[in-house]
Symmetry: C3
Subunit: 272 residues, 3 copies
């Protein structure tokens, strides 16, 4: 399904400029490398414009709320040179500060992709929120029952922000205003490892860097790759009687060995 998307990324080896948080930055760099891109984590305001200009995409992760000035400088430059920007509104709704940071960022640049869990995306939609911590709240979760209306809301939000919207969870949704991919891959253990959301965002950044004119499919391909890798990694972990850290290792390992054939064999993607 996503063969051309994969091929474009592997051929272009995109440099992905990330301004991200210090908790999961190493995993983000490694998953970009595993996926075939080249990460650069520069976040000093005096160099981010240059760095962004020489990259192919920009990833902004709000787990870092200290480098907002650098994010704005990089974002404006990215828009100017027409590089995709992927934003991860980590903890959106969990504090006033995060809501303000998101507002400020969104007033200063256009995002190509917004990726979060359902609680964060709801907070993005409402301009406020009631998230506690950084995990999605139980009440918000996307289920088969509320799927159709959530897809509809994602499409509406996509129109509002002129961005692809990615909602991560047991069921993933990747939507622009007209079309949505509903992806039923992955494993619940992904919620027991810090940074699987950030890694997903980083990988979307790499795929968009290699496919700047097709960010919807690029994001869907990255999310699908993460989900399929999650399933394969879980099986390998069970084989070796490991736990959450062995799972993380195999998650990134599987991305580093991923091919379109593996994806096609395992993916469960529905268009809506």
């Amino acid at each position: 399904m996503f063969e051309a998307i994969f091929e474009n990324m592997l051929k272009s080896k995109p440099i992905v400029h990330c301004i991200t948080n210090f908790v999961t930055v190493n995993d983000c760099a490694n998953i970009i490398l595993a996926g075939g891109g080249s990460p650069t984590m520069a976040h000093h305001k005096d160099e981010v414009r240059e760095i962004t200009e020489n990259s192919q995409s920009l990833v902004l992760n709000m787990g870092n709320v200290h480098d907002v000035t650098a994010m704005i400088l990089a974002g404006k430059k990215s828009n100017e040179v027409k590089h995709p920007i992927v934003i991860d509104p980590v903890g959106m709704g969990a504090s006033k500060l995060r809501n303000e940071v998101f507002k400020e960022l969104s007033q200063n640049m256009n995002f190509s992709v917004i990726r979060g869990n359902i609680s964060e995306i709801k907070a993005v939609a409402n301009g406020e929120g009631i998230t506690k911590g950084v995990d999605a709240s139980e009440a918000d979760k996307v289920t088969e029952h509320n799927l159709k209306e959530t897809v509809k809301a994602a499409k509406r939000l996509s129109m509002e922000f002129k961005s692809v919207i990615v909602i991560s969870g047991a069921i993933d949704i990747v939507a622009d205003k007209d079309k949505a991919y509903v992806i039923r891959n992955g494993n619940p253990i992904m919620a027991k490892v810090t940074g699987t959301g950030c890694m997903s965002t980083a990988l979307i950044g790499a795929f968009c860097g290699g496919n700047p004119d097709n960010t919807l499919e690029a994001a869907a391909a990255a999310v699908t790759a993460m989900g399929v890798s999650g399933e394969i990694a879980f099986k390998k972990m069970k084989k070796f009687e490991g736990g959450t850290m062995m799972f993380r290792m195999f998650l990134i390992d599987t991305i580093s060995n991923m091919t379109p054939e593996i994806i096609n064999g395992e993916m469960n993607v529905e268009e809506m």
Copy 2:
């Protein structure tokens, strides 16, 4: 022994707010998740009060001496809403700055638990110290020979700070003013992995978040879980002919698969 402690934690899934250092922050987040809690690593002074208020415990790690203002704001709020605070005086005694930071923190909040290696705890006791680097000095080490007097000193220090005192090493001591747990689990290889101390502190934070009214047993259960996991992880590492990084993987993996039964089968805990 600690069945109720475990059960409380797993039921409450405590959000653990950590203001910690950038060296080991990822391991700390992952061990909290592995243990059944939910980590949030917010350290911006403009949001830490909100984040702390919506959490169940606060972990302050002095490997970070940049965010002292945020630590004080979070600590005061935590005391106000009666959440346990666990402090790790990393490198205490290694510089004047660390000694001053600890003094400033201790003047602005009450700690529920203070966890360090013996050199750090001695520096806490004396208000100064001669630590070099971040590892315990050879001369300070707790042995069967000086155990009784060290336990007595820990109880005295607990009275002084109104905090549970945790001294990590080949023999671990967890003490309040009346009672001490002496824990003889673990493996020397733990000293060859960065952050096993920080991880222990983070896990204590999770256990205290689920057991705010029994921080002595919560801390003892967390330290015991770490020690038992260290033993199991070492055996697994040997089986696969690995080294220090495979050990770290299995250390957190074992926490992610831990049950009271496993603890009970392996633990070596003495009350004094």
Copy 3:
């Protein structure tokens, strides 16, 4: 070949003070521990002089361009007390800021060792550069064809900076003004893991800390250890059908189990 170098390091257990970037800091700390040293990652300007004074070597990594003041304070103190300084000019040539930071550092201290990829070292030599991102550019790469002239250039650069020059790549070069070691170990997968360069720098810091009077051989031994470990780790990874993260684990694991005998059995080192 490097038996005495290894022995000195293992005996002295050097404390290695690193001021480094937040992307790979954890791997750097762990590889120093694996190699037999003791890492301390202090980077607050108010304590770096004390920390450096109580250490045996200093590692400065320009992936961090925020703590330049702390780097200068630590560097001056290190020169004063005659500790080796190892600098990694990460991303040199990728932004004006990095070029300025390097210039400022080099005007304020003498480096014992400068380690980078060929693009970074070329930028060091020219005072400017055209690096994109943090990886070496294809056009710059050291091959058997341009090896002799590159070694000559490294020796010239060593004379100019009064530093050992380390150029990392498929072929590694470690040179002072008179002599060069050409090391043909390692595996291409090392470029698919973030921080293998930073780790190499950190390990050089540990070896130099234990061998302050022989930084040329210390650097060569560390680079050889990394290369040999890369080969062994790759074979283990293949055996377990892993990917880039399993490779990283085995890379550091192999350092943690390294002996002069293993090095001698696998190394491919030529003097030029």
